[in-house]
Symmetry: C2
Subunit: 194 residues, 2 copies
DNA sequence: GTCTATAGCAGGATAGAC
DNA sequence: GTCTATCCTGCTATAGAC
């Protein structure tokens, strides 16, 4: 009775995620993945079309999880600069905590393929930045902040500022970008509040 | 008389560079590289120890060329904000013009291996940023600016802001980072000058 | 210094039995 | 839906003749 299914797409995704984070993208090949699931490699092709499709799945998952992390950090809804700082630190923390999953999001990918969750993520950040800057649809501000955050993550990962260390560069960039001459609007700062 | 050498390390480097830019890193394997040089793959190992060593060579070359591009752009020696803008635009132009070579610089690489040219590049940018900010050794400022530039390049390449386009995000970030509340010192602005 | 030949490995993917 | 068996392609790298 080998007929009841041993694995599902969700199983595959879970196992793939684990291999990805533990051993990196290169190690995520069909045979070890199948082995982790107690199954032969050829069986995987009943559930996913090919490896690329699997990576697309994971890329979507990455966008979902990052958005989740950002939403979680934005609970303290103080608008303006503090909100952008909280958002930024959550972004950095996520990228540091799940480097492989984060990196997967940025693989060159066919333009429209599953851009769904990636778009939702973008929209979320756009909303936060726009609220902070006071501009109705602050795409430029979002691009600027996002570029800084992503670049910082990448440089740290690649070890480019290895010798000196970041040396406060994160705070410096954040200050410049989220300060009132960057993106931030002057926070309300009601005098009656504690 | 097959004894006179048909190829040199410089030849290999040149051919590799060409393949890299034309077809990407994946396509840069020993067999096609050898073929481009009119030689068998095994012959390459007389000149380079292995593929990794070749990539290190190219990585160094990338740092040299990027530094060259930045130096070239910094000829108009107006200090302060305009200098940082010129530097930044040259950085962006280089990364866009030679995307594969640029990307090669950021591969995770053994810490000290050939960090020579990479270090010289860093020192050069550090010098420019420090001059602009007026701080003696503005590592934080350099990290912040570099992170922004690199992140912008990477996001553009990966197509993450595909739908909206960058929408002026480069200028926005540059303004925030190089403006007087970012890195830039108030430029001398002598009242007597035109 | 270059050649032929080959070892050795790993990967994605398919055919067809059960 | 999973299995066994297998194809095919690609890669780095080495041995040994000339």
């Amino acid at each position: 009775m080998p007929y009841p299914a041993k694995i599902s797409v969700a199983d595959i995704q879970r196992a793939a995620l684990r291999i990805l984070e533990d051993q990196g993208l290169e190690a995520l090949s069909m045979r070890p993945l199948a082995e982790a699931l107690g199954v032969r490699a050829s069986s995987l092709y009943r559930h996913v079309a090919h490896r690329e499709a699997l990576l697309s799945l994971l890329s979507e998952e990455a966008a979902v999880q990052l958005r989740g992390a950002l939403e979680g950090a934005a609970v303290s809804e103080a608008p303006g600069r503090p909100a952008l700082e909280a958002l930024s630190r959550a972004f950095l923390a996520f990228a540091q905590r799940r480097p492989q999953l984060y990196a997967l999001m940025h693989l060159p990918r066919p333009p429209e393929s599953g851009a769904g969750e990636s778009q939702r993520l973008w929209q979320f950040v756009l909303g936060r930045v726009s609220r902070a800057s006071g501009l109705p649809d602050d795409t430029a501000g979002t691009v600027a902040l996002w570029a800084f955050l992503h670049g910082y993550v990448e440089l740290e990962r690649s070890g480019l500022f290895g010798l000196s260390g970041p040396a406060g560069g994160f705070e410096r960039g954040l200050e410049a970008l989220s300060g009132r001459h960057g993106l931030g609007v002057v926070p309300p700062r009601p005098e009656s509040a504690g």
